[in-house]
Symmetry: C2
Subunit: 338 residues, 2 copies
């Protein structure tokens, strides 16, 4: 049966000072005389006082924290982003509230609600839908928002992403250079600009080589971008005799799924099927056949996003929205080496 936790008032009584003084010891120690300060501090220690941040924040009217909502914490890509965000937030004295929407709109909305109720200073988000009413409302009410790994075509907020068209081009050019003329693109939902852009890049590079994209490329759209569902789809295709000689996957988890499906249906990689992934997560290098992949500057994405957000929080008036765009690069490994 826990006794109610002591308040600043209890500390004040015990130390024989006023509450204002205790508050000063906590927040502006230099304003209070040495002797009083130590008296207060020992009262705090004796009572086991812990500041109630709800009260502090209520009074302050504003918090020193930002929200980060990612799509899928199981994807190492988002860890690295989160790590970048935390680094910058730490440096600038902000706390990060980490939320995992798990690709469900209901969870995303719930977290947005919670973050707004907590009066976070700003929100970093990889939204399920770029143009969501919920997000617009949040911004309208004055909470700055930065999109991570997404761009808003309407440009009414900052965003940080990687040039997905270039990523698609890199993958396509690499495969075409190795003579592949039937490429299957295991895509996530084409409603995602990322997935669509990568396809655009892929088509562009095929066309640049003088081939007909429509003849070369086949698109397989997979709703959930993880290893398991991609494996299942790929396996079904392979068992029915896939004709493609190369696969390009919208992320490395999917590529691992395709790889497993290929190997378990007796294909050799890259002999029978070359595979290019996306993100270059750490596990890509350790895969059954080390994966060629498109590397994104993941931590930098997180760092840049956090910096933009804090900039907007600190200078809401002079702030101008920016769309930061990083360039991806190709990392070649066994899965495409002939």
């Amino acid at each position: 049966m826990s006794p109610m936790s002591p308040s600043i008032k209890d500390v004040a009584v015990r130390a024989g000072v006023s509450v204002g003084t205790v508050s000063n010891v906590l927040n502006h120690p230099e304003r209070v005389a040495e002797s009083t300060r130590t008296a207060v501090q020992s009262a705090i220690a004796a009572l086991g006082f812990v500041r109630n941040s709800s009260a502090a924040q209520l009074r302050a009217g504003t918090s020193r924290s930002i929200g980060l909502i990612v799509l899928d914490m199981a994807n190492p890509f988002f860890h690295d982003v989160a790590r970048g965000v935390e680094q910058v937030a730490d440096e600038l004295g902000y706390a990060v509230v980490l939320c995992n929407s798990d690709d469900q709109t209901s969870r995303e909305n719930r977290y947005l609600q919670v973050l707004e109720e907590q009066r976070v200073r700003g929100v970093l988000i990889t939204p399920i839908e770029v143009s969501s009413d919920r997000l617009d409302a949040l911004r309208r009410r004055g909470t700055p928002t930065v999109l991570v790994d997404r761009h808003d075509p309407r440009v009414n907020c900052c965003s940080v992403a990687v040039d997905d068209v270039v990523g698609g081009e890199l993958a396509g050019a690499h495969l075409v250079a190795q003579g592949h003329e039937r490429i299957v693109y295991f895509s996530g939902p084409l409603g995602l600009s990322q997935c669509a852009d990568r396809l655009t890049g892929l088509r562009r590079s095929v066309a640049a080589a003088g081939l007909d994209p429509d003849a070369v490329i086949e698109v397989v759209e997979i709703p959930v971008m993880n290893a398991r569902s991609t494996h299942d789809v790929a396996r079904a295709r392979f068992e029915q005799g896939e004709r493609a000689t190369a696969a390009f996957c919208a992320n490395d988890l999917m590529a691992l799924g395709v790889l497993r499906a290929a190997l378990s249906t007796g294909r050799r990689v890259p002999g029978d099927l070359a595979i290019v992934g996306y993100d270059d997560i750490e596990f890509a290098a350790d895969a059954a056949v080390p994966l060629t992949s498109i590397r994104q500057p993941t931590q930098q994405i997180g760092r840049a996003a956090a910096q933009l957000l804090v900039e907007e929080c600190d200078n809401p008036d002079t702030h101008a929205h920016q769309q930061v765009m990083f360039k991806p690069e190709l990392v070649t490994r066994e899965s495409t080496r002939h």
Copy 2:
């Protein structure tokens, strides 16, 4: 330039009712007449009112959230645990505050402080040190705590873990059965009971086979349990001519590091070196050589821990601490198949 967000009072004025009524619409809609309710609701919508949870929580004195502090979000093991925790918390109406201590005591302490200041109802933690003053103080002040993937020998809190001695035995018995007589154990810090227990199990199984554990087993202690540092240590050993024919690793990330080091120094796996990992993370099955591993019921750990915590929060008086212990199982794959 964001206008101060509207308070319940603004809503009350606009709807022509008192603040108490607005609060009732928010929290006990059934207590207020239909017509008033809709009037208030449209005022809320018109003003874009969002409840200030600091004020609500200050008044309530207690929150409906629990903290979860994990060691390393980059380790899929902890995701799965987190997922289990979230499932249960969702069902029971609690929010989860997710924190990543990243194996740094300073971060762990900082998060404990923040969580306590936020007056979370309880804390789930995989602590860096099981017996920490900080944790004891937290408990003494009335915040229930449950250890995840750890046990407290002093049994002054609940805990959920997996029998690591059995895990070590499973691995050892499997390797011994295949005729290995020189086994290197890539361990994390032996100060962790987990790592120590697995060694105990390993030694026990070797002894059970009539061999001398001291002659068979060599222990390599690696401070940071990730792929990179393990790879570096393993590689150095392999380049100097490792004599062991089998490696047992304290987790799968480490096993992946060993695998990479072995392959890149020209060893065949399992021919020259058999490898057993721990945790059976999803990537283990997709590794260059699919890894034999010790599987833990990861989500169940999270679920059980959350249930124990909530139980203690809801019945602080009648609650009795429990130490839940799951059994691991062996999953055999290529890395130990001869």
